[in-house]
């Protein structure tokens, strides 16, 4: 069998890389990758190929040979004709689909970590600075496990009377009201949620709800109610204990171990 030309090899590498990114990485391994990211990787592949073929003069000429042949050689008449039709047609189709594409509505930006205010408040009562305010029942976990358990149980009751409609029976953000909401309710089973924030942060998000978020948190979209209107301070702290007890994830603490 004839050895494939350098051009064919390079072309094949390019295609294989694209297929690998588009269908294997973005399909088998993980979710589909955005086109812009694929384009970035493909640009790298393209530059690598360019570097490879241009280090030696002879290699570069070897690479260009098939292109040259197709364009000029007398006995490549048919191939030349096919390309002369195919390439403009492809360009025609490509430009048409790009122009005729329907615009999609702007996506909603969403910050995962909206900046909390300096002070933690419940209604108008200041509970301390965001860094210092602590869950008053957390210490019971060590000091009085029985009392701690009853606070968790109370939190469970609060959760299933108020929160599970949206945040779900499994605390995974898939409650029976969730599919009509945008943004989706928080998923406490996600290891990135509870461990990344302090208990005071959760107290703030629960007590002030969607409308209490800063502008960057798109407060106009969140359906999270202002729970300080319905729940007592203790109930909010207890439900936070329940969240961490049920999922096994602990909210982060400040200063511990330093």
């Amino acid at each position: 069998m004839k050895k494939p030309s350098l051009f064919t090899i390079c072309f094949a590498i390019f295609i294989v890389c694209w297929v690998f990114l588009r269908f294997f990485v973005g399909g088998v391994i993980s979710k589909p990758i955005p086109n812009s990211v694929i384009a970035m990787y493909m640009a790298l592949v393209f530059i690598a190929i360019l570097v490879h073929i241009s280090v030696e003069d002879t290699r570069f000429r070897e690479f260009l040979r098939p292109i040259h042949e197709t364009l000029v050689d007398e006995n490549r008449q048919t191939r030349r004709l096919v390309f002369a039709v195919l390439i403009p047609l492809l360009m025609l189709g490509f430009t048409y689909t790009n122009i005729a594409k329907k615009a999609n509505p702007p996506g909603d930006p969403r910050t995962v970590h909206p900046t909390p205010p300096d002070n933690l408040t419940y209604k108008d009562i200041v509970l301390g600075t965001m860094d210092e305010a602590e869950n008053p029942h957390r210490h019971l976990e060590k000091d009085d496990p029985e009392a701690y358990k009853s606070h968790v149980e109370n939190g469970r009751t609060v959760y299933y009377q108020n929160c599970f409609y949206c945040h779900g029976d499994h605390l995974d953000g898939k409650g029976h009201f969730a599919d009509a909401l945008n943004p989706l309710p928080a998923n406490f089973q996600d290891p990135g949620v509870l461990p990344n924030f302090s208990e005071s942060f959760f107290f703030w998000r629960i007590s002030k709800g969607g409308p209490g978020m800063p502008a960057a948190g798109t407060p106009w979209n969140s359906a999270m109610p202002i729970w300080e209107n319905y729940l007592t301070q203790d109930e909010i702290w207890d439900v936070i204990l329940f969240l961490s007890d049920y999922t096994g994830y602990k909210p982060r603490t400040f200063g511990e171990g330093h």
Partner: protein, 568 residues
């Protein structure tokens, strides 16, 4: 000889595999129950109660109510009417959950062992599970009739014969005349299923699932086990009977035929009584079995028809590529009943109960609203369609459902369209610091749409200057249609101004008066967006050929360049 050895070996091996399981099952039943209790107390008790009475701390606001396990009454079973469910039934319900209720799937949260342990545990709440020595009789799926156009047609006639419409309505939207009177065993209000929304069927929406609900009934609900009103008649005979029954005057021959059919039925019901009483001779038993076979056939046809009423799956919400796109027409915008509306695809907006501000709605009855739209150079028309089982036009006392209010819808837009994704929108629940602009329609004034400005759910005012919003509406067979038309641009500063190509936030509030919806108690959506789809630009016919010609030119140029270099 060799073969026999081999068989023996297989047998021994097989025993090795089976024995541990047989052993395990017997010995660990008590252990299973103990483990099941742990899982139950942690995952189920907050709704179903520590003692299985369906009275957990969350139960108060749930409808349908969590199952009371101490009564042994189970809605979703693969067993015949009056029987207990199989273990597999209980396992399946736990695994898959009950769509349209607050019972979620547990497949992701509990592993299979844990789910089986819970099955073992919840059975201890009801003595009947211990007493019954024989296994419950499962509904046979033998003789299933394939899904086809013909079968659906037959099923449609049977829908009338079996009087399904009394509860489920003529077209199946759960709007039958008896619908408001229905309650479940526990005296809670229970609405018949809307057969056009099978994603809410508690027991799943496969044809097999639907068939099982017919044959086994839904225990504790108003859905009866099926009884064939034309028992003993074949499908053709039953069709003929209805045909004659509906006829005003019959000829003598027809009269005779009718009487014969009636006699046949009366005879069949007599035999049915005999069989049910445990009597009847061989011939009668045979006749009974034949008639039951016909009855099962009828149930399959009916299941096929019911399946055909819903879309294949729940429509996708109107986000991204599914966004509501108003289509351009050059001429007058079509009125509500124009057939041209059927050419547009619906945009689907799922709705949920408003649970943010008191009074709240925890048990919504309106699933969604579907929207279509056309616009021309000066005006835009919208068609809003939603299902509501009852037509309520005023605040009144209903003897079956208590106090009812007026049905209504409000369509919400911002007063000013946000410039980009980061510029603020009004709060999605009727605005806040930033105002929203609303079109409110109420069932008592079917031809009027009121313009409101709101800065909060309890802070809405009618606009002083009511613009010209043309309105048409209709309520028919459990479905509302509302058609509104307005100018794209108005002189009123408090109105929304529309331009093609600009995405505009849109949100909905709906009220089902029969479900106690009034004021803040309602169903809502969050912000979506819609656009007056721009007329496709002529550019799409100009640029692509230019690009194609350019690339051809480039190829020719390249060839010329190469040739010249060759000759040099």
């Amino acid at each position: 000889m060799r073969i026999r050895n081999f068989t023996l070996l297989l047998l021994i091996l097989g025993l090795f595999f089976i024995l541990p399981f047989v052993h395990a099952q017997g010995a660990t039943e008590a252990q299973n129950i103990a483990e099941g209790k742990k899982v139950y107390d942690n995952s189920c008790a907050h709704c179903h109660g520590i003692e299985g009475r369906g009275d957990g701390s969350a139960a108060e606001n749930l409808l349908p109510q969590p199952r009371d396990f101490t009564r042994g009454l189970y809605k979703i079973r693969s067993t015949e009417s009056g029987q207990l469910p199989t273990d597999q039934d209980l396992f399946d319900i736990i695994t898959e959950g009950m769509p349209g209720s607050s019972m979620p799937e547990w497949e992701t949260a509990l592993d299979a062992d844990e789910r089986w342990q819970v099955v073992a545990y919840i059975k201890t709440f009801y003595e009947g599970f211990k007493e019954s020595e024989t296994l419950p009789k499962e509904i046979s799926l033998k003789g299933k009739i394939p899904y086809s156009k013909e079968s659906i047609e037959i099923g449609k006639e049977l829908y009338t014969q079996f009087a399904c419409y009394e509860c489920h309505g003529d077209e199946g939207r759960g709007d039958g005349t008896s619908a408001p009177t229905l309650t479940d065993e526990w005296d809670y209000k229970s609405w018949p299923a809307n057969l056009h929304q099978n994603w809410n069927y508690r027991g799943g929406n496969d044809i097999d699932d639907i068939y099982k609900r017919f044959v086994g009934g839904i225990a504790g609900s108003a859905m009866p086990m099926f009884e064939d009103p034309a028992f003993g008649l074949s499908i053709e005979e039953a069709q003929r009977y209805t045909q004659l029954d509906n006829k005003g005057e019959m000829t003598d021959a027809e009269e005779e035929e009718y009487t014969q059919l009636e006699d046949k039925m009366a005879n069949a019901f007599d035999i049915l009584d005999l069989i049910n009483a445990g009597e009847g001779d061989e011939e009668q038993k045979k006749f009974y079995e034949e008639s039951m076979k016909t009855f099962y056939e009828k149930s399959w046809h009916l299941a096929n028809y019911v399946k055909s009423l819903s879309p294949e799956k729940r429509p996708e919400a109107a986000i991204g590529k599914n966004s509501l796109r108003s289509q351009y027409v050059e001429d007058e915008l079509p009125p509500m009943d124009d057939a041209v509306w059927d050419t547009l695809e619906e945009s689907y907006f799922p709705l949920v109960g408003q649970v943010i501000i008191e009074p709240r709605q925890f048990n919504p009855t309106i699933d969604s609203v579907s929207v279509k739209s056309f616009y021309n150079d000066t005006e835009v028309a919208f068609l809003f369609i939603w299902d509501d089982r009852t037509h309520n036009t005023a605040e009144e006392e209903n003897e079956d459902i208590g106090k009812t209010y007026e049905d209504a819808i409000a369509i919400q837009f911002p007063v000013k369209i946000p410039k980009g994704p980061t510029s603020p929108k009004p709060y999605f629940l009727w605005g806040g610091k930033l105002a929203v602009y609303l079109w409110q329609w109420q069932a008592s004034a079917p031809e009027k749409t009121t313009e409101l400005t709101a800065k909060g759910i309890n802070n809405a005012t009618e606009q002083e200057f009511q613009g010209d919003i043309e309105t048409e509406s209709a309520y028919s067979k459990g479905q509302y249609k509302l058609w509104v038309k307005r100018a794209l641009e108005t002189d009123d500063k408090k109105d929304l101004q529309l331009k093609p190509g600009v995405f505009v936030p849109i949100a909905f509030s709906l009220w089902d008066g029969a479900n106690g919806d009034v004021g803040t108690k309602r169903v809502i959506s969050s912000w979506y967006s819609f656009v007056l789809e721009p007329v496709p630009s002529v550019k799409r016919f100009i640029y692509p050929p230019i690009v194609a010609l350019l690339s051809l030119g480039l190829l020719i140029g390249l060839r010329g360049f190469m040739q010249r270099r060759n000759t040099e």
